[in-house]
C-alpha cells in the first residue's frame, strides 16, 4: 500500500516559483502605491482631527501591518493564482486529464492540490513581508517630501508603534488567507462542468468566493486577535 498524502517536493518547489516569485512584480508595484496613498489620506484625516501630522507615519504603518498589508496582498494573489488554479484544474477536467491521472493510480488531490497549497502559503507569507516593506518605504518617500518629517523620525515612530506581536499576527493572517485561496479555487476547478463556458464560470467563482472568504476571515481574525 502506497503512503497517502505524501508531499511531492519537486511539484511543491515548482508551485512556489510559479505562485510566489511570478506574483512579485504585481505586489511590488501595487503595494508601493498603497503605501503612498495611505500617507496621503491619513495626512488629510489627521490634519482634520488632531490639527498636526506627527502621528501620520505611525498610524499608517500600524494600519498597514495589521490590516491592509495582508488583505490587499492576498486579494491580489487571489486574482492571480485563484483564477489560474481554477482554470488549470478545470481545463484538466474538461480535457479528461484528471481521469488519466486516476487511471495511473495517482490521487489528484495529492498531486494537484497539496503542492499548490504549499506554494500558496509560502507565496502569501513571503509576499506579505515584501508588501509591508515596500509600502513602508513608499510611505517614507511621501512623508519626507510632503509632511517634512526626517527619515530617522519616520522609522523611529514606525518601529515604536508597530509591536512584534503585530507582525506575528499579520503573518498568521497571511498564512490563513494563503490556505483559503488554493482550496476554494481547486474545489471550483474539480466541480467544473464541460466546455469552455464552464471553465470561465469556475475561474469567476474561484475569484469571487475566495475574495469574499478572505474578507470574512480577516474580520474573524481581527476580532480574535485584537478585540478579545
Amino acid at each position: 500500500m502506497r503512503k497517502r498524502f505524501r508531499l511531492r517536493i519537486h511539484e511543491a518547489l515548482e508551485q512556489m516559483y510559479f505562485l510566489g516569485v511570478q506574483s512579485l512584480p504585481i505586489v511590488f508595484i501595487s503595494l508601493g502605491f498603497v503605501g503612498l496613498m495611505m500617507i496621503l489620506e491619513l495626512a488629510f484625516h489627521m490634519r482634520l482631527v488632531l490639527k498636526h501630522d506627527a502621528l501620520v507615519p505611525a498610524f499608517s504603518a500600524v494600519l498597514m501591518v495589521r490590516e491592509l498589508g495582508p488583505v490587499i496582498t492576498c486579494l491580489l494573489l487571489t486574482s492571480r493564482i485563484g483564477a489560474g488554479i481554477a482554470a488549470e484544474i478545470g481545463t484538466m477536467k474538461v480535457t479528461e486529464q484528471l481521469d488519466a491521472l486516476k487511471m495511473l493510480s495517482i490521487d489528484p488531490f495529492d498531486y494537484l492540490v497539496v503542492p499548490r497549497w504549499v506554494g500558496s502559503v509560502f507565496a502569501a507569507i513571503s509576499l506579505t513581508v515584501v508588501a509591508i516593506a515596500v509600502s513602508l518605504w513608499g510611505g517614507a518617500l511621501l512623508a519626507i517630501q510632503k509632511l517634512g518629517t526626517s527619515s530617522g523620525e519616520y522609522f523611529n515612530t514606525v518601529f515604536f508603534f508597530v509591536k512584534f506581536p503585530d507582525v506575528i499576527r499579520c503573518l498568521l493572517k497571511a498564512a490563513v488567507f494563503g490556505t483559503l485561496i488554493p482550496f476554494i479555487a481547486s474545489y471550483q476547478g474539480f466541480r467544473c462542468g464541460t466546455g469552455s463556458a464552464a471553465v470561465g464560470e469556475a475561474a469567476t467563482q474561484a475569484v469571487v468566493r475566495s475574495s469574499l472568504a478572505i474578507i470574512v476571515a480577516d474580520f474573524v481574525l481581527t476580532y480574535l486577535f485584537y478585540a478579545i
Binding site: I26, I29, V49, R66, L68, R80, T204, V216
Partner: protein, 258 residues
C-alpha cells in the same frame, strides 16, 4: 522586453476600445433594452455579495480604527474617522476588488466563451459589428451596475460600522453623531467619483480581455485571470492618482476642511 511590449499592446487595445465605445455612444447606437437586460444579468446577481462585503469591510475598519485610536488615546473620533477612511479609500478599493471579481470576471468569461466558440465570428458573418451589438451594451451595463453597487456597498459599510461599534461597546448614537463632524461633502464627492471611475475601468478591462480571448477553454481561463489582475492593478493606480488630485485641489482651493 516582451513584458513591456505586451503591456503596451494591452493598454493600446483598451484605449482603442474606449474610443470606439465613446464614438458609438455619441452616434446613438446604444441599445438601451439590451443594457437593462444586462444590468439585470450582472448587477442584480451581485447585490447579495456586495451587501455582505460592505458589511464586513465597515465592521473591520471600525474595529481596527477603534483598537488603534485606543493606542493614541483619541477614541472620541472613532465614528467619523472610521467612516471617513472607509468612504474615501479603503471602501471603494476593497469593494471594487470584489466587483472586479464578480462583475468583471463574469463579463470577460462570457465574452471569452463567445469569442472562443466563434459566436462573435458568426455575428461578423451576418454583416453586423460585434462591438456594436455585444460589447457596447455590456460596457454600459457594467459601468452602471458597478457604480450603483459600489454606492450601495459604501452605504452598507456605514451601517456595518454602526452595528459593529454597538457590538464592541461603543454607543451607536455617539458613533453616528461623530460621523458628520469628520466626513465632509468633499469626501462624499470623492468617493462617488472614485466609484464611477472604478466602474468604467472594470467595464473596459473586462470587455477588452474577453473580446481578445483566444484558444479554447485554456484561453477563457487565461482571459479571466488576466482580467482580474489588470483590474486590480489599475484600480490601485487610479485610486492613488485620484487621492493625489483631490489633495492637490483641496490645498489649492482650501475646500473640504472643517
Amino acid at each position: 522586453m516582451e513584458y513591456i511590449l505586451n503591456l503596451t499592446k494591452t493598454l493600446g487595445g483598451m484605449i482603442l476600445l474606449a474610443e470606439k465605445w465613446i464614438k458609438l455612444t455619441f452616434q446613438g447606437k446604444t441599445r438601451w433594452g439590451f443594457v437593462i437586460d444586462q444590468i439585470f444579468q450582472v448587477g442584480v446577481k451581485s447585490l447579495g455579495m456586495t451587501l455582505i462585503a460592505g458589511m464586513f469591510v465597515g465592521a473591520i475598519m471600525a474595529l481596527q480604527i477603534d483598537v488603534q485610536l485606543k493606542d493614541f488615546g483619541a477614541e472620541s473620533f472613532l465614528g467619523g474617522l472610521s467612516t471617513s477612511t472607509t468612504l474615501r479609500n479603503v471602501g471603494p478599493v476593497l469593494i471594487a476588488f470584489l466587483l472586479s471579481g464578480k462583475v468583471g470576471a463574469y463579463t470577460s468569461a462570457e465574452l471569452g466563451t463567445m469569442e472562443v466558440t466563434e459566436q462573435l465570428n458568426a455575428i461578423r458573418l451576418l454583416g453586423a459589428d460585434p462591438v456594436e451589438y455585444i460589447i457596447l451594451p455590456r460596457i454600459w451595463a457594467v459601468i452602471i451596475s458597478s457604480f450603483l453597487l459600489l454606492i450601495v456597498g459604501l452605504m452598507v459599510t456605514i451601517l456595518g460600522g454602526v452595528l459593529f461599534s454597538q457590538f464592541i461597546g461603543v454607543n451607536a448614537l455617539s458613533y453616528i453623531q461623530n460621523i458628520p463632524r469628520i466626513v465632509t461633502g468633499w469626501s462624499i464627492v470623492l468617493s462617488v467619483v472614485k466609484s464611477f471611475v472604478f466602474g468604467t475601468l472594470i467595464a473596459i478591462v473586462s470587455c477588452y480581455k474577453g473580446y481578445t480571448a483566444r484558444g479554447g477553454a485554456v484561453g477563457v481561463g487565461t482571459a479571466v485571470q488576466s482580467c482580474a489582475v489588470t483590474n486590480l492593478i489599475l484600480i490601485i493606480f487610479t485610486d492613488f492618482f485620484l487621492s493625489m488630485i483631490s489633495s492637490l485641489l483641496q490645498e489649492l482651493f482650501q475646500v473640504g476642511y472643517l
